[in-house]
Point group: D3
Chain length 223, copies 6
């Protein structure tokens, strides 16, 4: 499994470059954030840049998925619109629950970027430092409700074997109080991250370092 | 596997209703085109309706995916934008080749709507009445080039096991003359239809009857 | 995936040869109907030739499976006897239902020849132009009865995991009114096409072109 | 997993009935040799009975597969003809090698009857008391030649994933000196037992007790 | 699949060496009992040797697993302690039942050594010459009780997909009268042989010839 | 998927009890650390307690696996001896590399306890805050060397399909400079955690809260 030379134009973050040098026992080759050329924020079309700056203001950094997919602005524009239509709207599912779906299905798909990045977001929304790791590895053993486990069982089935969905699967959700619109939400989030996981794996997208620790520590009390 | 009562608001096309009545040996319960309420063309937001009318003008009918997903206009808008960004743009892949990817990966995902609808489109673009059925069942035995088989092998791997992509997979495509942008196209089409297949399976989307025959007959000579 | 030179003696049909030449966007290498030498009808033993001529009279052509397997007359003789014992006899299953089993299990086994050839026969028997494509892709979404879906679920389990059959599987069929002899028929058709699919894949059997369109058009009214 | 009452007409062998009674630690419910009615030898059509008597003379007993499948004489007739066409004819493969294919693929399919019955036959033909158990569990670790391992790798691929056969698979056999007719034999034996395994699993066919020990002991010297 | 030269120090038993020479139709290359150097009994640390001599006294030979794992005495010591803690202690499961679990899960893992060696032990404990072969191939068809089938279904799930265990799996055992300690035993035996099977496959451990026949013949009456 | 009442005797840690009360958006039912009764440290046999206190001194707490498996002291004793024989000894693999194997194979087996607990240990040994999350999700994308990726590919094959190991797998490791003893170490660690993962899943072992954060923060400078 020879590691190919990074395609021209691939960018390392400064941080990654620095860290790679001293090398502990584990230092593999410094890894670019994508197999493909990554534009700088300045080269990104204005509308997309505006959205990225907005995220940066809130999170303190621009998630790599934005810059890496900006290699194809038209696709990124649709990607963000789809994401926002599902993840930011009003829903019978809390934002934490939608992120649980992302983390559980991305775990099933072995998608490094999405497990790490959305694991961080899940920790934040759920105000729970352990739930993301649990859901990523095995939702059946996570500290979540039985209703949420049923939600994730359906979502993982959409992710792995959607053609075999039968009435019983829908009925199991309804028994937990989910209505038809909730079920669309569950399935659609799983479906959208089926796309997202595959894009991340295709371009070997690396998570920003910041995500790994986000939401794991209690917030410092405000002075 | 009891068939649930169609959720309220689910619509049968007139044609389906009529056909279901006489019943041959195979007449199962008349099937709505979606598990969810399907808006009429008039109830669809203007921008989406315009796009649908455009397709209707060309194809003679509105593909069910448009009306069924219009139950959620914001999602459909992003869906169409993503679709167009990948399928209509200039590319190192012909339109027929991109449709081959759709058909092969939708076959791998057992997605009825996409195999039937995009099978029709593939027949039209490829001007070949048999290739869609072949690619849907087993691309290794299809009447296509070795280069196209390599393309589909990569696409199906993206569809089924994207986390296991390794350098050898990319190298195999480069050996057939695909460049990095072509590879993005191959992977991205497979990724987008990973989403699309799951949505179609989730809502039990039925293909328009017209698709089944499209592209199977030689065009009548113009008078 | 280099395409090997066809083994000596492999025959192209005239039609395939002609079609391959003009080449549209999809023209792969012209494909023989089998990896193995295919005898001409004249070289086939008399009893087998008689049976083939009988089919030819009815269908208008000799299905490729007959000529290709005639490379081994003793095996073909047993093959046809087994086929006829299952598919032509009186049964609690209609002929259309038996062909549904063939198409569903051949779809599960990704067998190009059997999906195309028996898909055509299914369309004819069921007098339904869409059912074969539906059953080949995903029988759970086909326009068939709940009873037929139960029948196909059992058949696909025989095709894919016969060792795991348990009492519940038989009971599910009995609940739909199938008796023990019907169950043998369902399982035996699935079993016979487990053989048939593997032979077709082994010799890379190509379907006759005629099958692709058969049963898709309404019959012209008699004058 | 409740054990269903044996369907009417199912027959226990005397031996099984006796053995079940004393009950050691393992005595489960006495098991009939088939889920279906089993005719007595006298009720079997003459041609089939003649063939069974011939086997009985050689082996000392009638293998259960014959009597159990005789519930459907026309199918059994074709079954035996197919079996004989493959297993008794001249071939580039020894009879022991053909039985190896049966045992390896029946092991892959978890078919109790075929592993036990053909394991016995393999021991006899190979004059080797251990090879059948080895091939049934894991042919890669069996005391057989590298050529035979290649043969079994191909056969198991035919059994489990025939649609994915590619040129490399055929080439690997040719590298070991197998010619095209040998390859047909390998694939066809695997294909025929794909049918046979499924029938045995469908009817829950029990192996004759005699098979378990056959070929395990050195032959007593002739006086 | 070239067979690598046996690593230095690998030992053939005398018997294997002799048998390999005359060669019947099946004589593959003579196989060492392990890929790794195998110490002679004299070179084994005293405590382990004492345990081996004890087994030898009872069985008439030293099972290959002992000598082969003695290449790493500390690991073997723990291995034997674990084995004895599970397999020799008082339990709600009989010794025959625990060996059934070993054979069924080793069959699922295709482990030649464990199927052959523990198959022999199962025949002895169960006083039943056929049960081991049945359980190794397909426990659903074995001559065992419904309770034992439920036990094996749980054990095989532990072997193959332990992360998916849910309450229903435990409840199914309790319905057959297994208590929580019995369930630990069932799961722990399956878990221990998950280790054991992998070690045997890793070092290509060959079963002693003696195991193949043990327990298959009625004991000679004492004079 | 109703959560069963914790078996009698199951103990909650104080911390878990407290945390469960306030309940954020994600608070599922407070989860015991095992389905089985968990002894207090005082009730554990002296030798095992001594070992636990040693770990407690170093880590600040007793890992749940010790207390939970102490329900069966003889098994725990063997478990710890086996663990130490593999993980603490001199080896051609660093301790970080052995923990990588644990994390990668536990990820493949979806074992929550082992991914979280050994992920923490891996971060400590590797002095790398991100490597554990990466290896748990997809080692192919982790910041590790090509040699380590080869090591993990072999380990995961031992975990998932040890019966299919062939010479090429061993050769691939030797090409990276691993010798036969290193290969034993790689395989044996994967094999031991095959056992460990199944035990943890069987008893629904919950990781100590402390593990989730361990090794993620830079060490505070010593005063």
């Amino acid at each position: 499994m020879r590691t190919a030379p990074p395609p021209e134009g691939a960018r390392h973050t400064d941080r990654e470059r620095r860290e790679a040098t001293p090398g502990g026992q584990c230092s593999g080759p410094a890894r670019p954030i994508s197999r493909y050329p990554v534009p700088s924020l300045d080269d990104v079309p204005a509308d997309l840049r505006a959205r990225m700056l907005e995220v940066q203001e809130k999170a303190g950094f621009v998630p790599n998925v934005f810059l890496a997919l900006a290699h194809r602005p038209a696709e990124l524009r649709a990607f963000m619109a789809y994401h926002d239509a599902l993840m930011l709207k009003e829903s019978g599912l809390t934002k934490a629950e939608r992120e649980m779906i992302v983390v559980a299905t991305s775990g099933a798909n072995d998608c490094l970027y999405c497990v790490i990045a959305h694991g961080a977001i899940l920790r934040i929304y759920a105000k729970h430092p352990r739930v993301a790791d649990q859901v990523a590895v095995n939702y059946r053993k996570a500290e979540i409700t039985a209703r949420q486990k049923a939600m994730l069982a359906f979502a993982v089935k959409v992710a792995e074997a959607s053609a075999t969905l039968v009435e019983e699967d829908y009925a199991a959700l309804r028994a937990h109080g989910f209505d038809d619109e909730d079920i669309w939400d569950i399935g659609a989030v799983a479906a959208f991250f089926a796309l997202s996981n595959r894009m991340a794996n295709l371009i070997a997208l690396a998570p920003n370092e910041e995500f790994y620790l986000m939401g794991r520590l209690p917030k410092a009390p405000k002075p």
